[in-house]
Symmetry: C2
Subunit: 387 residues, 2 copies
C-alpha cells in the first residue's frame, strides 16, 4: 500500500518537484514551458492557473494563458509526432470501431466556444481550506474547440446501445505496472451530454497542445474540466459509471465533515452560473475618485447569460451591467462592464450573474469536503481603495 502510494506520487509528478515548492516563483514544467510565464501561477507541475489581473480584455482565452490541471502526468510528447495515426475506439454502439485522427479530420466539423473550468476553481476561497490546489479564479478560460460532433459518430455507427445511460471517456495516460488500474483517467457523464460533446483536435484554431489533451480530447461543454478527457483513447456509451477512482471517490459533492468521498454523493458534472470581476483589482492600484469601469466575465454553465449585476457596496445594492463583446453561444462566457462613480475610500466590488433559466449566482458557497464548484459572489468580491 505504501509502495503503491509512492508510485502514485511518482505518477503525478511529485518527485523532484518538492524542493522547488520552497521558492517564490515556480518554473513552468517542460510540457507547459510555452505558456506566458508572467501571467501564470504555478501551484505544481500539474496545476497552473492564470492570474486574475492577467485575464485581459478579450472574449477568448489564448492557449498560452489557459490554466492546466492534469490528474496524472501527461503522456510523452511523442504522441503528437504522428497525430494523424492516433486512434479513438468508439464502443457501446451498434457497430463499434476505431477512428484515426486522419479519418476524423475528413468529416464535417463543429466549433464550440466554452468555459473550461476546473471543478475546484475558487477552492482557495473556502475558509475551511479543503485539501487540493487553492485555486482562485484562474483555473478557468473561455476557448474554442474544433472537432467532430460525437452524436454524428454515434449515428454513423448505428446508434447507442439500448441500455446506455452514460458517456464514458478514457484518457491515454500510461499507467505503470503495479499501479491500480482504477487510477486511470476515465470519466462518465450522463448520456444527454452526447448532444454537445466533440472529439476535438484544435484549440483556438491550432492543434491541441499536449498540456491540453492533444492530439484528441473529449470535450463536454457545460461540464467541469475533468469531464473533458484528455488524450482520449476510447469513448463508450455505457450502462454504468466508470469504476475508476476519479469517477467513484473523487469529484463528489460530499459533506464537509465526511470521512471520505462517497460514490453515492452527487458527481461534479455541470457548472452552475458564476461571474467575477477582473478589473479593477486591489493589486492594480492607482484608482482616482470619479468614473471607474468595472469589468469581468460571467457564464451560465449550460445556459446563456441573461443579466449581470454589480455592486460597489458589498452587495447592499446592485446595478445592471452591460454585456459587452461577442455572444459566443450558451457555453461561452460573456464579458460585462459597468461604469460607476466611486468616491475616495474603500469599496467592496461584487458581481452576480443570472442565466436565462433564472438561476442567480448565490451569495453563499455550497460547503463540501473537497471545495468544488465555488460560485459565491461574496467570496469573489474584491475590495479596492480609491484615492
Amino acid at each position: 500500500m505504501l509502495g503503491a502510494s509512492a508510485s502514485a506520487a511518482a505518477l503525478v509528478g511529485l518527485g523532484s518537484w518538492k524542493s522547488a515548492f520552497a521558492q517564490d516563483a515556480r518554473p513552468l514544467p517542460g510540457y507547459a514551458a510555452w505558456k506566458d510565464a508572467g501571467s501564470m501561477i504555478v501551484h505544481s507541475p500539474n496545476t497552473i492557473e492564470l492570474r486574475r489581473g492577467a485575464m485581459g480584455d478579450g472574449a477568448i482565452t489564448p492557449a498560452r494563458q489557459l490554466y492546466v490541471r492534469n490528474n496524472l502526468t501527461p503522456p510523452s510528447a511523442d504522441i503528437l509526432k504522428d497525430s494523424d495515426a492516433w486512434t479513438v475506439q468508439v464502443d457501446g454502439v451498434r457497430r463499434p470501431r476505431a477512428f484515426t485522427l486522419a479519418e476524423l479530420r475528413g468529416m464535417s466539423t463543429e466549433t464550440v466556444t466554452m468555459v473550461l473550468q476546473c471543478s475546484g476553481n475558487g477552492r482557495g476561497m473556502f475558509p475551511s481550506k479543503p485539501a487540493g490546489t487553492p485555486w482562485q479564479v484562474g483555473a478557468a478560460g473561455c476557448v474554442m474547440w474544433t472537432g467532430v460532433p460525437l452524436r454524428e459518430l454515434v449515428r454513423a455507427l448505428g446508434g447507442a446501445d439500448a441500455e446506455a445511460k452514460f458517456l464514458t471517456g478514457t484518457g491515454g495516460e500510461v499507467i505503470p505496472a503495479g499501479i491500480d488500474p482504477r487510477t486511470r483517467v476515465e470519466r462518465s457523464v450522463p448520456i444527454a451530454a452526447l448532444s454537445d460533446a466533440l472529439l476535438a483536435w484544435e484549440l483556438n484554431g491550432q492543434p491541441i497542445p499536449l498540456a491540453h489533451g492533444g492530439p484528441v480530447r473529449l470535450v463536454v461543454p457545460g461540464f467541469t474540466g475533468v469531464n473533458s478527457v484528455k488524450y482520449v483513447k476510447r469513448i463508450a456509451l455505457t450502462a454504468d459509471e466508470s469504476d475508476s477512482s476519479i469517477q467513484q471517490t473523487d469529484y463528489r459533492m460530499s459533506a464537509p465533515d465526511a470521512k471520505a468521498m462517497n460514490p453515492a454523493d452527487p458527481s461534479v458534472w455541470q457548472m452552475p452560473p458564476k461571474s467575477w470581476i477582473n478589473s479593477p483589482l486591489p493589486e492594480g492600484g492607482g484608482l482616482r475618485a470619479g468614473a471607474v469601469t468595472i469589468k469581468g466575465v460571467a457564464f451560465g454553465g449550460t445556459n446563456a447569460v441573461r443579466q449581470v449585476e454589480v455592486s460597489t457596496d458589498g452587495g447592499a445594492s446592485w446595478k445592471v451591467a452591460t454585456l459587452v463583446g461577442p455572444d459566443l453561444g450558451r457555453f461561452a462566457w460573456r464579458e460585462f462592464a459597468a461604469t460607476v462613480d466611486l468616491a475616495a475610500g474603500s469599496h467592496q466590488l461584487a458581481s452576480r450573474v443570472t442565466d436565462v433559466k433564472g438561476r442567480t449566482q448565490p451569495e453563499a458557497r455550497v460547503e463540501n469536503k473537497a471545495g468544488y464548484l465555488n460560485t459565491s459572489w461574496r467570496d469573489h468580491a474584491v475590495t479596492v481603495t480609491v484615492a
Copy 2:
C-alpha cells in the same frame, strides 16, 4: 527623384532582401519570426501569406498563421515596450484630445470578429498578372479584435465636426527626412464606418504584435486590411480624403489599361462576398472514390452569410452546403461543409456564397489594373483527382 525612390526602397525593406529572393523558401523577417513558418509563404519581408492547405478546421485564424502585409517597414519594436504610454490623438471632434493606451484600457471594451483580408488577395489568379504580390487565398484570416468603440470616443468628445465625411487614420511608421510625407500610411474611409470601428489593442485575446499593428490599431470591420491602420497615432474626422499616396493613387479600382491609378476611380473599401474551398486540395492527394467532405470558408464582407453552394462539376450544377461552426457575427467568415459522392477521375470543385442582402459571389473577377478584390468563384475553384 531617383534618390527619393532609392530611399523609399530602403523604407519598404527591399535592401538586403533581394538576394534571398533567389532561394526557394524565404525566411520569415525578424518581426514575424514567431509565425508558424511551415504554414506561411514568404513573398517578401512585408508580404507573407498563409498556405491554403494550412487553414485548419477552426473558425478563428491563430495569430501565428495570420498573413502580414505592411506598406512600409514597421516601426521599431520599442514601441511595444511601454505600450500603456502610446497615445492616439483624436481630431475632427468638438473637443480634440489625445488618449494614452492606459486610458483606453480603462473604458468599456468591445470585441469584433472579422475577416481581415488584403485588398489584393487573389491577385495571383488574375491572368493579366498585375504588378504586386501574387496572393492566392491566404492574405486573409478571421480574427477577434478587442478595444474601444470609436463611436463612443467620438461621443465622449462632443461629436464629430459638422463637415466631417471621412474617418481618417494615420499610422506611426517613421518617415525618414527627405521622403515625401505623402508616403505615410494614412487612409480615409466613409464616416459611416465609425459605427463599427475600434481602437484595438488585443488580437485574439493577446496584445497586438508589431506585425499586426500593435500597440494600437484602427480596426474597420468589413473593409479591406489597408483601411485598418496599424500603429495608429491619430484619428481624425475629416471633410476630405487624405492626400497620402496610399489614399490618392493606390488602392483604386482603375481600368486594366489605365496608365496610372486615378484618384477619381473608386477606392478599395468594403469587401464583396467571397468564399473558397480549403479541403480537399490537389496537393492533398489520397482521395478515394466515395463520400468526400468539401470544407471551406465564406463571408459576406459587411453582411452575414445566407448560403453557400458547392459544385463538383465546375459550376454546371450546385448543391447547398451546411454552415458549420459558430456564427461570430456579420463581419466574420462562416465555415461550410458538404459531403459529396465523387467517382474516380478528375473533378473541378467550386464554391459560391450569397449574403443576406442577396449578393452572390460572381463567376468573373472584376478586371482592374492592380488586381484588387478578386472574388471570382471560377478563379478559386480547385481540380482534384480521385483514384
